[in-house]
């Protein structure tokens, strides 16, 4: 082959590649909006909802982006590059507040869709008196228990700590693991320590949070820290023998197979357990921390929300608002409840078709027997590092109770100094 032929071939190749990239852009005249979400349990369902929405609004196309485990990492990296998805699924409280404070989110306070949300859910998205996201689903953290196993050993769901101890004793005697454990990764223990802390503190949580944020006080203030660590010790003594090696998947498997009778988890885990064993018959109760039954409240709050990016073009923002509006229609709520199996936050939603554990959650919500997710209001570093790692280090004997409390306090103070 001649030299010039090689060269011209190379040149044309480069030109073709460059041309191709420019051509593919700007082909569609539809408004395409991007929805960014992290709930991996509703991948198919989100697709269905997008199709249903686009059928109603043929001039809009919805692009779905799923980032399951590292959603915040991806989101922050994209934002650092000056780019943001049009609709963003965010965890309630600190994630919303953080982005609202930086100015990334659209103020939704006056949107009609927000007036359809139950009042109690709005605090989770309200930053400096303005709402910056649409609360989407309610979730609870507590004990998911196997009703069949409880019936077999003639047990009643416990309402006090003593009752819980008895239940565990009976289960152990019958060679059933009381709790399916999950110690290998730290997040579940982080939930556990803050769940017990909030339950023990009860109504004192909110004033305590204020004091902490003012740079005063300590993690041990609103509670008797002895009780807190006693309960962690108790939990440690009653989980699966090899909990230190168990991941979320193994925990689900142990619970679904009936090897363990209970698991301390968020209600989002129920879906995985029931998918493994469709015959499972479950109930959902709060984790009792004291011997007063009235203290036993479910840790329930808004889990995910949808927020809109403030840097989207006006046309896209309009389309995104249309999507939020559509979410409150009966059609969308029905899909949200029946297909996604999530408890909606809209007033008067019909949840009668949901499984028992969800009904239990709604029951506790309606009776007002719930505590807010205080951990979502901790500074991010406090929960992500000090609480999660601290609890895990305590369970593994790397840190003593006082060190854990001290570390949480130190981290909190450092975060407040900024």
């Amino acid at each position: 082959m001649k030299k010039w032929m090689v060269r011209s071939l190379l040149l044309t190749l480069i030109l073709v590649i460059l041309g191709g990239t420019f051509l593919t852009a700007s082909m569609a005249d539809k408004v395409e909006i991007e929805l960014f979400y992290y709930k991996q349990e509703i991948v198919k369902q989100m697709g269905d909802m997008a199709t249903a929405f686009c059928k109603k609004n043929p001039d809009i196309s919805l692009k779905l982006t799923l980032i399951p485990n590292d959603s915040m990492t991806v989101l922050r990296t994209r934002m650092a590059g000056g780019d943001a998805p049009d609709i963003i699924q965010l965890q309630a409280y600190s994630a919303v507040f953080e982005f609202a404070q930086a100015g990334w989110l659209v103020d939704l306070t006056n949107e009609p869709v927000l007036s359809k949300v139950i009042e109690g859910a709005k605090t989770s998205v309200t930053y400096k008196g303005r709402a910056y996201a649409l609360p989407m689903d309610l979730a609870g953290i507590g004990i998911i228990y196997n009703k069949d196993l409880f019936k077999k050993y003639n047990l009643k769901p416990p309402t006090t700590f003593t009752e819980l101890q008895n239940v565990c004793a009976v289960l152990k005697k019958n060679k059933v693991t009381p709790f399916a454990g999950l110690f290998k990764v730290n997040w579940s223990l982080g939930h556990f320590i803050s769940m017990v802390h909030s339950t023990l503190a009860g109504p004192k949580v909110m004033p305590w949070l204020e004091a902490m944020n003012a740079g005063k006080g300590s993690f041990a203030d609103p509670i008797n820290s002895k009780e807190l660590f006693k309960i962690i010790d108790f939990y440690k003594a009653n989980v699966s023998a090899n909990a230190a090696e168990m991941d979320w998947d193994e925990q689900q498997a142990a619970f679904a197979s009936g090897e363990a009778a209970m698991m301390v988890q968020g209600l989002w885990s129920y879906g995985a357990a029931i998918a493994t064993n469709p015959k499972l018959n479950c109930g959902f109760i709060p984790f009792p921390c004291t011997d007063k039954a009235e203290d036993t409240k479910l840790l329930a709050d808004v889990d995910s929300t949808f927020a809109l990016s403030a840097i989207s073009s006006p046309a896209k923002m309009k389309a995104a608002k249309q999507f939020l509006e559509w979410l409150s229609t009966p059609e969308a709520i029905k899909m949200w409840v029946e297909e996604c199996k999530l408890v909606p936050t809209f007033k008067n939603s019909d949840v009668s078709s949901m499984d028992v554990p969800f009904q239990d959650l709604v029951k506790y919500m309606n009776e007002g027997k719930t505590n807010p997710w205080a951990f979502s209001m901790y500074p991010v570093a406090v929960f992500e590092d000090a609480c999660k790692n601290g609890a895990q280090e305590y369970v593994f004997g790397l840190k003593k109770a006082n060190d854990v409390i001290q570390y949480i306090d130190e981290t909190w103070r450092r975060e407040m100094q900024k």
Partner: protein, 442 residues
């Protein structure tokens, strides 16, 4: 090949120039950007130019500017929102009729410049504070820590060994009265050299004893911290994977049967994705290892997890090093080995005086490769243990990741990354310098 001047220019433009510009774009530029950010308190989500200002804050800026032209320019892009009394940056500018257009980079830069002239920027320079904080970060630096042995929730220990009692308890108490009180309640039994708790204790004494034990019974342990674990991991990974790779290479260099099959088998772990390797091994550690060794917890145990991680890393990495050593061994002229054999050199003499010196270039490469790889290890740890339990298996890069993405401390994390970069450059630089000098000597 001799090329004409024109030809050289052509290849320079076609290949070298793109490579150089890409190198600048993706390496030089981010490196300096990183060094810049390491002196800031950036939290990772605040944009370069603030998206919104409080009303009086913005008006203050306008006053301070003292320049009507600039003020008008700012006002054009920051519009007042009545509802929350904020001035908000409009990312989309409506000019006349038609579609609004996006804020251009030029306009952004101009806004940034104007704001900077009155000292407003969302990222603040805090000098060396990040680097200073690193020294106080109790996760990062190796340090001695008091580990308290007694928990006030526990029962009082009835028997304590003599050495433990003296070293971990008695030595920590300075007050004579407290010592006496302790010795009164714990009596020394010479026959088996232990201290035994008195039989009947009053309520008051028990409480007092518990508080003494809670505060004074501790031992000092070295917590390796993130730096310590990284060095531990690097040391063992470099040593073991090179040793194993060299041994395998020497074995497979002989005329044994199935040597090609074995070579590919040992190289295979390197081909599999690290995430799959991690999954595979976490099953091994959970299901198979307990059966073989009788130890039930591996990755979840603070004592064993660091060794388990090293083991997987060695298994995964040694195949690649083996290939380099094999290539090195095959460049050694066969005559040389044969001649020495004829001269009566023993196998170990052949190994140490002929093969190893001639393998020195391979050593240089392998050491460099495994050193720099171990110092910046991330994926295998992330997939196996996520740095846990606690912080026991967290190498520097995982720590950086946690600081930046989980705790919103970008500036701090970047400072650590800069430090890591320096450490790697220093260590590998020294290694290369020393080994290259040896190579020249030969």
């Amino acid at each position: 090949m001799v090329t004409s001047k024109k030809g050289k220019a052509f290849y320079f433009i076609m290949f070298l120039l793109p490579a150089l510009s890409l190198y600048t774009m993706f390496f030089i530029f981010p490196l300096f950007q990183g060094i810049k950010y390491s002196f800031t308190d950036w939290n990772g989500i605040v944009p370069e130019i603030p998206f919104n200002f409080e009303k009086n804050e913005f008006e203050n800026i306008l006053v301070q500017l003292n320049n009507p032209k600039k003020a008008v320019y700012l006002k054009k892009f920051y519009q007042f929102e009545e509802a929350n009394s904020l001035y908000r940056l409009t990312s989309w500018v409506q000019e006349g009729e038609g579609e609004p257009r996006k804020l251009t980079d030029k306009e952004r830069k101009e806004i940034k410049k104007i704001l900077k002239s009155v000292d407003v920027s969302s990222i603040n320079y805090i000098g060396l504070a990040n680097f200073k904080e690193m020294c106080n970060d109790q996760r990062f630096i190796p340090r001695l820590e008091k580990r308290y042995l007694y928990n006030e929730f526990d029962e009082l220990p009835t028997v304590i060994g003599k050495r433990a009692f003296n070293k971990k308890l008695l030595d920590n108490i300075s007050e004579q009265s407290e010592r006496d009180f302790l010795l009164l309640n714990y009596q020394f039994i010479a026959s088996n050299s232990t201290y035994v708790l008195k039989e009947e204790l009053t309520e008051e004494d028990t409480t007092k004893l518990k508080s003494v034990l809670k505060e004074k019974m501790y031992e000092k342990v070295l917590i390796p911290g993130v730096i310590g674990f990284t060095l531990f991991f690097t040391f063992f990974n470099v040593l073991l994977s090179n040793f194993l790779a060299l041994t395998l290479a020497l074995i497979l260099d002989t005329n044994m049967k199935y040597k090609n099959l074995l070579r590919s088998m040992f190289f295979l772990p390197n081909v599999i994705s690290l995430i799959i390797v991690a999954y595979l091994w976490s099953y091994m550690f959970r299901l198979i290892f307990p059966l073989i060794t009788g130890i039930s917890v591996w990755l979840g145990s603070p004592k064993l997890a660091p060794y388990a991680v090293v083991m997987v890393a060695v298994w995964q990495g040694c195949g690649y090093l083996m290939v380099i050593y094999l290539a090195g061994l095959q460049t050694i002229p066969a005559e040389l080995v044969e001649v020495s054999e004829v001269d009566g050199a023993k196998w170990y003499q052949r190994l140490f005086f002929i093969k190893f010196p001639l393998l020195l270039p391979a050593f240089t490469i392998c050491l460099f490769y495994s050193l720099s790889n171990s110092l910046r290890t991330f994926d295998i740890v992330m997939a196996l243990t996520q740095g846990g339990p606690g912080y026991v298996t967290t190498p520097i890069v995982v720590d950086i990741y946690k600081n930046a993405f989980m705790q919103n401390r970008y500036g701090f994390a970047t400072a650590k990354a800069v430090l890591l970069c320096l450490i790697i450059m220093l260590i590998t630089g020294v290694q290369l310098f020393l080994m290259k000098r040896r190579e020249v000597e030969l």
